[in-house]
Symmetry: C2
DNA sequence: ATGAAAGCGCTAACAT
DNA sequence: ATGTTAGCGCTTTCAT
């Protein structure tokens, strides 16, 4: 059984307004070529009938969809910020977004497959897991922009944060405060773990602190931070940079519980500027990714590809910035 | 300028396989009525050409879309859980989801408007702000299910958590532990604030603790909790229920900073079972909404309406459950 | 089992 | 300025 009530179409509006469908189409698209009188009459009829253009039919007919497909993880808080930025950027450029989420029960591959049926003109992927090979296949078919994942594949555009630089900033900040014994708790197999670790090591070297380099195995969760912090306690450094905010929250708690003062005895820097970092009682110094820049660039790149404009470079790297809050300060004994 | 490469169509596959488009359609839809030989040949051709059916055209032609429109807030963590559940439930029922998000720069009304062009057969709204009047208008046109918002409007189905009961559970738990002086910090104008406050008051009365009822103005943010907790300190109760986890995090911190032990001196219960509550060092006792039940019911209801099945009641209320963690215990002086 | 042909709601090229 | 008409890529009768 069906709902019964057929939805109102262009033809219904045309009949009600006493004009042709073509004219209604012109009016609905706000295109030039209709007399003010007819325009008003059509608009009135459409309003009265509660007419909504059928996007499917519209897209089917016109050769352009002006639609950008976005794949994102619905459980990831930062993806929320990114989708927000993408809507804004796409809107400004006169494009629309069509969303497809991956979830614990619906993997990225399915999310992408679903989008592929949607006639979008380009794909913007907040990809975690799709293989480089498959991303390359995709990019061979249509413009494909991968966000925040440091991959290299033919025809795939990558827009990402300079995670190495993020850790440079963190270490620079700590060194400026007078720290020398700075450790790093890494993110194990998480996406940007390697780049962040590398950034830490580079910055330490640059400051002549090669001998102080100390990387502890960690992970993305708060109990990873808790465990790593316990390892740290046998011989505490004066500062520690942590893979992400969540892990840093675990670190903070362990340090404080064991009687250390933060930042008096030890400074802590996180990564992500997540909602946890902004809790007043955490108030974590952290590295923030620039969601707005990432999304502007992603949309710009997608549209450049769609419209065949020349672009420079497959990969665009966006600098993050340090947000100094309450967990960093000068060391007591430098 | 356009991308140039026209996408492959049914006709292309038909030509490649040497059959009619009708037959290809049958094979692609996995419908009966094609010989195994032809089926294989068509599938091979489709694979070779990288053919993807065009959902727009498909939907345009067939009278059913089997598409459920979902409006959600991309910044809201719990909405992530809900969308996850909706994908699962819809998938099991043979329906697909089409997503439209509201963001700081794209309000709910626009998100809904965009969906309306998408030919979905029903709407599932995680609505915060759309007016009851507009929701009713919507529901007059197509099946409309509103999730987690206690409204009453003609033709609108509502699936929500029993927030009053959530606070009953919280208070019952505290009373069982021996508490009598239990305060509540409310959520100001937040969505479910009134229901939760009411639940607190009802439960207190039921336990004969009418004289102990104490509601403090609060809000949804952690600094709302911080401020409210400071008010509490002049004459601390032995336990406090808080509008949500985020506010409870602020409460916890203020209490501890002022030298009180949680749960030794004072117990705290949050609401939402958010990621904050699960941080090991917060480990907050809290009321959890049952996302799975909410989403199963929402999808079921939407489909019942679409298919014209009789349903019982406009509103379905789902019980939450208490997650006991580390912030509640017996009072020292009951 | 297979194909020819009509048409979903719209846009765009072409008439008038 | 307005109407007529031909499809967009598919599904769905209806023939065969």
């Amino acid at each position: 059984m069906r709902t019964g009530q057929r939805r109102t179409t262009l033809a219904d509006v045309a009949a009600a307004a006493g004009v042709s469908t073509a004219l209604v189409s012109i009016v609905m698209r706000d295109a030039p070529g209709a007399s003010p009188a007819n325009r008003a009459r059509v608009l009135a009829a459409a309003e009265r009938l509660g007419y909504r253009p059928d996007r499917r039919a519209r897209l089917l007919r016109s050769d352009r969809s002006r639609l950008l497909g976005v794949v994102f993880g619905v459980q990831d808080a930062f993806h929320g910020d990114v989708v927000t930025g993408l809507y804004d950027a796409a809107g400004r450029a006169g494009y629309e977004l069509t969303l497809s989420a991956f979830t614990p029960g619906r993997d990225e591959h399915r999310a992408i497959g679903s989008l592929l049926q949607d006639r979008c003109e380009a794909l913007i992927l907040l990809s975690h897991s799709e293989s480089v090979r498959e991303l390359a296949d995709l990019a061979a078919r249509m413009p494909t922009v991968v966000l925040m994942r440091p991959i290299r594949a033919p025809a795939v555009d990558v827009i990402r944060t300079d995670d190495r630089r993020g850790l440079h900033q963190a270490v620079d900040h700590l060194v400026e405060l007078g720290h020398r014994r700075i450790a790093h708790i890494d993110g194990a197999r998480a996406l940007s773990s390697a780049a962040r670790r590398r950034g830490y090591i580079e910055a330490m070297r640059r400051h002549g602190l090669e001998a102080e380099i100390r990387v502890l195995p960690g992970g993305p969760r708060d109990d990873d931070g808790t465990a790593a912090a316990r390892d740290l306690l046998t011989d505490p450094p004066t500062a520690v940079t942590v893979f992400n905010d969540r892990s840093a929250a675990g670190v903070l708690d362990t340090l404080r519980r064991s009687g250390l003062d933060v930042p008096g005895d030890i400074s802590v820097v996180g990564y992500d500027d997540s909602s946890i970092a902004r809790l007043r009682h955490v108030w974590l110094t952290t590295v923030a990714q620039d969601a707005g820049a990432l999304t502007d660039l992603a949309v710009q790149r997608a549209i450049d590809r769609i419209e065949g404009r020349p672009v420079q470079g497959r990969e665009v790297v966006v600098p993050p910035h340090l947000v100094v809050r309450g967990t960093t300060g000068a060391p007591r004994r430098p």
